[in-house]
Symmetry: C2
Subunit: 145 residues, 2 copies
DNA sequence: ATTTGAATTAGAATGATTCTAAGGCTCAAT
DNA sequence: ATTGAGCCTTAGAATCATTCTAATTCAAAT
């Protein structure tokens, strides 16, 4: 009996990711993301992946980011217009965006927010998810006025 | 004493908008937005403005949307990748995005959310704004399964 | 070894937005 | 009324992220 193709199914995910064939390119791209806390763009990932997978193409990075996003292994983050950013943080978290330096950092959830108690939702609407972006100044920029 | 140039400074805004010279093109574009509840894209606004300002250019629509956004008269909304959407709703509100039909509707705030009590913020960070996107199914799509 | 379908690739195509350069228009001072 | 300065508008080019296309490579099951 041949071994089944290697798949990726990280623990700790909230919505169970579906399996994805784990090719060398995909594994390295996924690893780049798990080792990055700065929410890199596709091009950022491409640059970081090049030393690990010589000859990798930007198309593969785009394809892989899409695959991993659809399978639920990573998240696509779009706070501003401009290139999408990607994130492998599986904890339930929100994003903090510094208006001064543009950095995006994660903030873990301490206590859930109940949508119905805070906002007037259209009658009959079904809420599946709550995305929160906090904006302001990061500690570094806040100190520098 | 000559009259000061006409400016726009709608009431009810949370962060006082700065004045903007109100040209015919800008007024019509602003009016298109105040009469739209569907968060139109720049192209949508362009199409709707054409009957009011014959010969208007898409460049003017882009320029005006940028001007009005910077002056605080309208808001730019970027929920997904893809064209930005615009919104003249001055009430404190969040956005509800239907995963099925893509519609974006506003939901008024009933009770403020205190960021510090819900999320672990980086020590020293200054929060200025809280952007919330609710995702799920709108009443129509929820009914249609 | 052969087949089948998925993965990868370079490059073209797309689409939203921004930029550029050239006129137009307004307004305040003449 | 005329003029000068500066903003407003415009067409079209340029940019940039992303998606598409078509060809090639690869991997797993036969």
């Amino acid at each position: 009996m041949p071994p089944s193709p290697p798949t990726l199914s990280p623990a700790g995910s909230t919505t169970a990711p579906t399996d994805v064939r784990m090719t060398p390119a995909r594994k390295e791209i996924y690893d780049v993301l798990t080792e990055s806390k700065d929410h890199p763009t596709a091009t950022d990932v491409f640059i970081r992946a090049q030393s690990r997978v010589p000859g990798i193409s930007l198309a593969t990075v785009y394809n892989t980011l899409e695959t991993l996003t659809h399978s639920g292994h990573i998240k696509q983050v779009n706070l501003e217009r401009g290139p999408s950013r990607f994130c492998a943080n599986k904890h339930d978290h929100v994003h903090f965006h510094c208006d001064a330096c543009g950095a995006i950092t994660d903030a873990d959830v301490q206590e859930e927010v109940d949508p119905r108690s805070h906002w007037k939702l259209p009658r009959g609407a079904k809420i599946n998810r709550l995305d929160v972006t906090l904006r302001g100044l990061c500690p570094t920029c806040a100190k520098a006025h």
